[in-house]
Symmetry: D2
């Protein structure tokens, strides 16, 4: 049985945590969704030859490379999926776009506004030649989150007055947790702020359709020194006896005003003991409210203020119905999806955009705007002043 | 400042757990509700003179008696509130009714169907002389429960198909918990079945407006012997070194068919470790569903199946709005009520019935019908057969 | 039966929402708790003679006055309970203390720091003569909240890193809701900030045993004009056709740093559609976390990080056990308390302090400190700067 | 890069709902787990050539067959995965085992006890030749469920006293939902009982390590006639204007006694409006309790009664830690799994058993025992008597 669907050769750079999630998405998307292009997991690129080969076998990639530059030269590669730490995003993504490859770049887009601006310039130029660029704010594609966006767009909650967003993890509570690359400013750009704060900035802006306009922030590093990691792979790392300085924030809190007048309260931390991956977003509007918590990811709560008081209440929508975004492709009602499904939906939307010649969302410009918010947050914390975000 | 409201002299028989709850209700009702009669806490009756006097001071009763017979003879008593163990209900209540006193009788109405029938006969006769009788199924008067009834009555959930009801406690899990009167068949009539099972039989019938028609049941006594209690007062008792036989059930489970065709599943137990007073009722109908749990007593959950699938979900109605039953008399929205408020609402409804000359609900006939269901449950368990409940 | 307990004559100034709650507490406390003094509800004071008399009948007060000055002169009054709007607190409380009356003053202590300072001075002076002063941060006395404090004190959650606190209501979402005294700066001092924000400032400081040290804040008034209220009583008011300016905040958000280094995020609003009285507090420490939500007020959630990962999880403690603060006086496990029980506990603690000649907590000094935090929040919002709170 | 792992050729019979889930599992298992054999998705077998070919392309199978007999003859097939309706299980599975193929058979094992017995005989015989047989009670492999089993085995909840189990769906509430094969006794064997009731019988027995010993049951068909389905595929079907009789149960309720003395209450229904796939299991023991609900599938609730009352409570264990069954292979804490992950875990355990020459669990004998319970339930309902299940 031959498929007439045109091929889309994919190369992935990096193969740790994000690499595993992206691989599964590239494999799974065509099995559950009707795609206009057939993604082929052509090349896996990593620095270490042996480990890259082992990863390719396990994750199901046809070939390997140890140089991302060489990877970009390959004719069997149409799209480059950048899953490396943030300090390499700009260089790889810009080169890939210039080489005429579509790009999917993990978030945060870059480690600085300047880098992100250069990436947007490259993406704009590439777009003129039909080359597409997307940034991986995957959580947008959790069905309950996409449903939240849809309901706001339909006016179901009216004018937005309050946005409260938390991204709570606790993997650094132990002061002996080792100093991985995620705790080093030169590699990661920032700490909780860029790693997880970026997500709630993007998600709240996506759901409300509005933008953060100004912020007052405070960053904190509770544990200033940690054991050096002897080896690093993904999220895990082994501790050594030497210690090094933590150069990023453990937690970031900020208040904000959105363009449309809503008040925002944000908190991103790796010190919320007992919270594992609690992305909690609540939006209160003049006609209703929405609430989401990733620790119960198949649920969206909706309060409809037009309902009589006698029967009004936050309703727990189990976002597993065919009527919900992305769900029709999966299982019957009540059969929940998991973390990695968002990556599959991301592949679906990206392949669709590439095939139809449209700009995927979120694009690099969205990534840049988030970077500007993160930058304003850091500056605000450093200078103890309110900072505006210029569009 | 003189009140023109006519006086309603109340005597209460018994002053332990239920006595405290009823006292608070008699005091509180006129402070929050407009009552057509002014209840006066006239006489407290108990067996022990000293303890009764102390209770009267504490609970706020004007006079005391140590004989319930003498209490019934008093002219300053218009209503008798029976808060004693079940084996004395029939005798006291019947005598009170014959003495022309209105009666509020704690549940279960009696320890046997025969006693309950005699009580109904007495109540019927008394009713002809304008004397009223009510049985204390207090949980009906939790606002969220009364709201459930209202919604079923309005047709909001359509035709009822499933009723699942649990009353879960855990105070007997410890095999050294002493043998109180509640574990003795001659005093208590039955165990979990009559004490707490009675409530879920009443509540499910009240909410659905339907009646249990037949049952298949199993009773179980997990711990057959317990230390004798040296002294008994209310729910607490001190253990002695001697042991005695537990002569009632620790748990009762039964399946049922309601008159209207719904299937019922019931469970009452004192061995549900970790559940303290979990009265959980879920009703599924052709157009919607309702769910309630007393451990979160200010909430009623409603699923409305006429809602589009995209936004349908169980909504958590915080039953603290002025639109909810009994709530307008209390606090602003979101300021929850507690356990004893149901007793206050019971007093309100009873005083209203007495003043307007109408039969209060639930009346003794309702108590008798519940008694028949409990009786059928016991017989079913003993004989391992289905048992019908005759109206 | 005569009680040998010495009498404590109480006068209450004001009889709307808070008056009803305080009345119920004065009546109920001696029925459920062993008090060293017997509180007598002697005098109710209100401006309007007829309405005050009606309230006294209903709420159970022996006599009435229409002048608070005259009330303070009465010999049968030992304690003055101030339930009026904030602009009158200072004058009445100071006069009462000088008249040698103990004082319970509703929160916020005053409408300005200056007034609060004068009140503290008066309280300090009165204390030298054995006269006591307490401020009514009642929510401290919800059993689940008092349990939270106890657990932090025991070191169960270790060093506190994060405090997130929200007080969410929605009664102003409707732009036609009338302009009550609570929306007028001269009467109420501030809006959501002083009315409900004060509670979460007090609660978080109480639970953590730490103090807010600096803040960056933003206040917002979403609806600038509202219909004038024609008549005002408590929380309810009738709308007229004329409109007036809302001169207080609808919502207040701020980030904070506590003295011990914890980061705080606070939000108080009357525009959180669907949230009725959601006081939500979460505290993350180095060894565990606590979470509370008043909309499920009998529950405290605890995460114990010393538990093995396999079985660690937020546990839902139903704070209805005899081992929990205040609960032994009430009902068996699982029989929840309601909103007004906190007021009863407040009376219990106050009477205890008066009888034993100790300073009640929270005292006026605690009220002043909260006032200073509120003041810093307002200044921060006005000046767009961080503000320190000086002890 | 060549893998030295020996090949395991898999053929799957059937390709609708279960086929999609199983396919995804065969593809995913080797990417996330270290398997001793390399499963190859060799052959997909279906009745219709065109539809089977399309499914093979989509689901990723190398070849197709339209005869299951021919499929069994193929040398490239080592294992047969039976995903057809229940009426064909016995014939195909027995033939496959006789052909020396390992078998994974969807549940319920068969449509009758007799068929199931024949299957066990075939499995026993095959086992002597190293051929393995497993029945697909997939929900055992949800991490939270496997954790529940582990905790019971460790004695964490002590002696089991109560088991309450519900499997609630609502897809038949609409009386116009068409008459699919699942509503026809000759195809499906039974209705809610065999389709979903089978799961809760297996799960409760698995978690408790005990067996249902006797039952009293009631089956009900609420809607007796439905529109005929014109075309059937998986769970969906299109309605025609003709009507046919529903020959299976819409709902089944039963009470039970387990061998160890625990009381059980079971309920399986397709009429629980608003409940989509609510598999709810609660087990109360002498030292603790466990609770699970598949609609929040990454959570297990545990109550530990050895904890002091002050801090005891049901804890919400987010079963996403590396310490939890199967989880180490997946994502960091808090990144939940979905419905289909259970199928992947099933493949992992089956491949492990095949490679190590051990009997997989649950085996056909487990499937037969569940069948006997289902049979006893039906007989009990028909005869209105208690029925014992003989081992």
């Amino acid at each position: 049985m031959t498929s007439p669907t045109p091929r889309l050769g994919v190369a992935m750079i990096g193969h740790s945590f994000m690499g595993a999630a992206h691989s599964q998405a590239w494999h799974t998307a065509p099995r559950f969704f009707d795609l206009p292009l057939d993604p082929v997991t052509a090349v896996l690129c990593g620095r270490d030859e042996g480990r890259t080969a082992a990863a390719a076998t396990r994750l199901g990639w046809a070939a390997t490379e140890t140089s991302w530059e060489r990877t970009l030269e390959r004719d069997d590669v149409d799209l480059v999926d950048v899953c490396t730490p943030g300090d390499t995003h700009a260089e790889i993504a810009i080169a890939a776009l210039r080489a005429g490859k579509h790009v999917l770049c993990e978030k945060p887009l870059a480690n600085s506004v300047a880098e992100a601006e250069a990436m947007v310039a490259a993406a704009d130029e590439a777009a003129e030649h039909g080359v597409r660029a997307m940034v991986g704010f995957t959580y947008r594609r959790v069905p309950a989150v996409a449903l939240a966006r849809r309901l706001v767009e339909q006016g179901r909650i009216g004018e937005v007055r309050h946005v409260r967003a938390q991204y709570l993890q606790d993997w650094l509570v132990d002061p002996e947790a080792p100093l991985s690359w995620r705790l080093q400013k030169d590699r990661a750009g920032s700490g909780a702020l860029g790693d997880i704060g970026a997500h709630i900035v993007d998600l709240t802006q996506y759901i409300t359709g509005d933008r953060v306009q100004e912020v007052s922030a405070r960053l904190e590093t509770f544990v200033k020194e940690r054991p050096l990691a002897t080896e690093q792979s993904g999220l895990s790392a082994t501790a050594s006896t030497e210690r090094g300085a933590v150069t990023v924030d453990d937690a970031a809190v900020f208040i904000a005003r959105f363009g449309g007048g809503a008040l925002g309260v944000f908190e991103a931390t790796r010190f919320a003991t007992g919270r594992k991956n609690a992305i909690r977003i609540e939006v209160n509007g003049s006609r209703g409210s929405l609430a989401f918590d990733f620790e119960d990811m198949n649920v969206l709560e909706l309060f409809d203020a037009t309902e009589p008081a006698e029967t009004a209440g936050f309703r727990r929508i189990l976002a597993t119905e065919a009527e919900h975004p992305y769900v029709a492709a999966w299982w019957p009602p009540g059969h929940g999806l998991g973390y990695e499904h968002g990556f599959t939906h991301q592949v679906v939307d990206l392949v669709q955009a590439v095939a139809t010649g449209t700009d995927p969302a979120p694009g690099f410009r969205d990534g840049l705007q988030v970077q500007r918010v993160l930058d304003a947050v850091e500056t605000s914390s450093d200078t103890r002043t309110w900072q505006e975000i210029h569009p």
